[in-house]
Symmetry: D3
Subunit: 182 residues, 6 copies
Amino acid sequence: MALALEPGQLSLQNEAYFEKCREKLGFVPNVLTSYADDDAKLSAFAAFYNDLMLAPSGLSKLEREMIAVAVSSVNRCYYCLAAHGAAVRQLSGDPVLGELLVMNYRAAELSARHRAMLDFAVKLTETPHLIGEEDRAGLRRAGFAERDIWDIGAVASFYNMSNRMASAVDMRPNAAYHGQAR
Amino acid sequence: MALALEPGQLSLQNEAYFEKCREKLGFVPNVLTSYADDDAKLSAFAAFYNDLMLAPSGLSKLEREMIAVAVSSVNRCYYCLAAHGAAVRQLSGDPVLGELLVMNYRAAELSARHRAMLDFAVKLTETPHLIGEEDRAGLRRAGFAERDIWDIGAVASFYNMSNRMASAVDMRPNAAYHGQAR
Amino acid sequence: MALALEPGQLSLQNEAYFEKCREKLGFVPNVLTSYADDDAKLSAFAAFYNDLMLAPSGLSKLEREMIAVAVSSVNRCYYCLAAHGAAVRQLSGDPVLGELLVMNYRAAELSARHRAMLDFAVKLTETPHLIGEEDRAGLRRAGFAERDIWDIGAVASFYNMSNRMASAVDMRPNAAYHGQAR
Amino acid sequence: MALALEPGQLSLQNEAYFEKCREKLGFVPNVLTSYADDDAKLSAFAAFYNDLMLAPSGLSKLEREMIAVAVSSVNRCYYCLAAHGAAVRQLSGDPVLGELLVMNYRAAELSARHRAMLDFAVKLTETPHLIGEEDRAGLRRAGFAERDIWDIGAVASFYNMSNRMASAVDMRPNAAYHGQAR
Amino acid sequence: MALALEPGQLSLQNEAYFEKCREKLGFVPNVLTSYADDDAKLSAFAAFYNDLMLAPSGLSKLEREMIAVAVSSVNRCYYCLAAHGAAVRQLSGDPVLGELLVMNYRAAELSARHRAMLDFAVKLTETPHLIGEEDRAGLRRAGFAERDIWDIGAVASFYNMSNRMASAVDMRPNAAYHGQAR
Amino acid sequence: MALALEPGQLSLQNEAYFEKCREKLGFVPNVLTSYADDDAKLSAFAAFYNDLMLAPSGLSKLEREMIAVAVSSVNRCYYCLAAHGAAVRQLSGDPVLGELLVMNYRAAELSARHRAMLDFAVKLTETPHLIGEEDRAGLRRAGFAERDIWDIGAVASFYNMSNRMASAVDMRPNAAYHGQAR
């Protein structure tokens, strides 16, 4: 049972943001409505999220979604696996890849770049206190620049927050995600 | 060895923010300078962080710092333990409390409210997939309202991000923290 | 890369079994072809499997498939999650239930009977040495008879074998499973 | 307290099997009597078990028993450690080896072949989702053929089932095992 | 391969102690010879050990040996399981009890007193940071006095040292232990 | 709430020992008063401890204290972290080093010798059953002699005892430690 917070008054900017979601996706993702009892928190979350997942980066949007799913699989987050699993299926055009990352990314046939990227993200998720210089060196050997390492770390870290927030307040994914891009 | 990202051009707003840090704290926390190669990321992070830790809430600022330290202790994050351990010592006026939360919060003599709050934050950190309705019910029995549960979840989740970001790029705490409020 | 064992000569009985699979399912499940280099092993496995999953029992076929998926989720077995996730979607007519059991069965809204059944199966999977009389008593309180407890134990135990066999030899699920009953 | 299932009517074939056990071992192993309330399940289990442990294989019978004990030690299965520990003592003529595999196989002075075999079996037991191509390559380097890798995987997987079944229904080993071949 | 430390010159007192071992046990336990390159360390260890295991206590000598085995089973210490398993068999006159504590003490049919005692010892071994007042209260309910709680804690803690020392330097048990009191 | 054992009659030798503590440290460490209800146990503990931490060794006193803190950090022992963290700050003249070892020794910039020493101590603490010849070989490569390996093992093992004893009876550190050598 999700927390019962009353939706608050949205600013014009956030009303417009929700409207844009409805146009593009057909619905407002439940993670956003869950923040909607507090307009300032919604704005801060949305700005942070949009920079992370959509701003220019050495990582493609698909790569950022792949990290999201691999991390959420470790944390067994229902909300994020449903939403970002759909995104991987959509962006990759490969419905099986989305499934595989939900189940066990090690069973997927990944490029060396993607395997290194997900190995780092998963180690950072499971045992952050063991991450050291040799792990960053591994990313460099796989071709990632310093800024890319930051971005891999930032996306993996963000979903460690988001997975836990979803569990803390029992966020439920929009039903639409399940059937997308199968 | 921390990532070597070149500091970028800061906006006037962020320049002013750094200046305010220097006035109030005597230094700019290294977490902020680590974001300073990308002004947009710095702004998004700072807005998100300041809402979380400083905005009005059913949780006091000390309580939010206590959660930060208990979570960072599980993840063994050097940066966050140094910085937020200092904050607990300062806000509580109890240097031993700061130490205890770094070492093992279960050894501290806490009120039932604080024990319930930290038990939830630590379970959310260690096994987010096991958090369920009975855990939220436990917080309600300890006197927390729905909005407070959100805030406990949000602070605990944030430090699960922040701890990992610090590990990913090897952030180092400012030397000033260690001696503060002993 | 799966083991490269040469398919052997099948007995008439096993040829007929494969033919029946092709008729009913449209394909022979890869787990069966993986045993097909040794007719005796294939026969022993098929007999054991069919008794377990299809013979009369106090557990419905859907319930046995639910246990298969919950156990395979703990062990992160790609083959079994793909194949038995499809079976749960099909038998339940509820595509979301299949997804949920793959991701985190605790997030599903289950009857008390099903929650008790899966809690037992997952504890038996994760920490078999901690299973004791109080766990069996819990199943009895949820309405399960002695024979049902045996069957829950037997199905959960079987998938702990099957998950590991699939990992040991890198079994790959038939592509058909992914799109079934979405 | 073991499950109280009524023994059922045995087929002539299974009566003969029990009689052969009494002649050769002096008793019917309790695992078999525990299946004896359902003649079909007993037959399926016995056929599967006998193929696994007694059929021709690149692994000797002792090697299969060594895997059984190392896996059962991880899962702390009293029944299997008692029964298969006795088998290792008997087949090896080395009572200390049986003890060592029960306690910690890493303390035994094993050939490179046996160490590789048990390392694979134990990793497959503890973290099946981490088994990958490099683990199979390790077995090949230790001299194992493809079919042997299957057999190591099959025996290790089987005891992951059997250990859990014994825990689920609280199977108790026959008293005779304890003193055998000391 | 055990550490190769040269045996040193023993004091008369320690010579006499070794002689007494030979008379009573037929051999000097290897743990004592492993300390014999440094007479002062041997004296300190022997005094500490003998007070712990032999001095008057609310715990019988058998109970102290039971704790030794249960703790050593968690840590999978070959030396201590061989030596103290033999002691439990001898002191209890029950060879199966010794086996059971090596394999999984939860499978033994223990009095409420002994179950509480071993549950505390094992929790103290696995997760010392989680031991709290409620665990001590459990021991009091099972009839243990304050001094007994100290002694349970002291014996369990000692074997957490001893198990690790044996692993650190690869101590090997005297061959005589294996066959004793079967 | 610590155990309430009545202080007993101390021998002259132990009275003198306490007096010497008061002179040198300004107080008697609470670990010693906790043993003071039984003069024989106090003597045995003190003799064992003083040999371990103060006798000549290839390890400096600071190195022994570093091991004490790294081990106590794994076990999250409040008493030992407070007392030995202070000792590291004092002996090293580096207050930050003491903090770092409490929080996460892997974040400290250590010599290869010290990193190898603490890696061994921490592995011995977390997974003693996995310590093998290759771990001792690692210490030899870092320049440690056989006797040093014994001493590293002995100190790490001792704090695995001491941490658990402190948890078992809820020992509390003297208040004086917290402010020392900051």
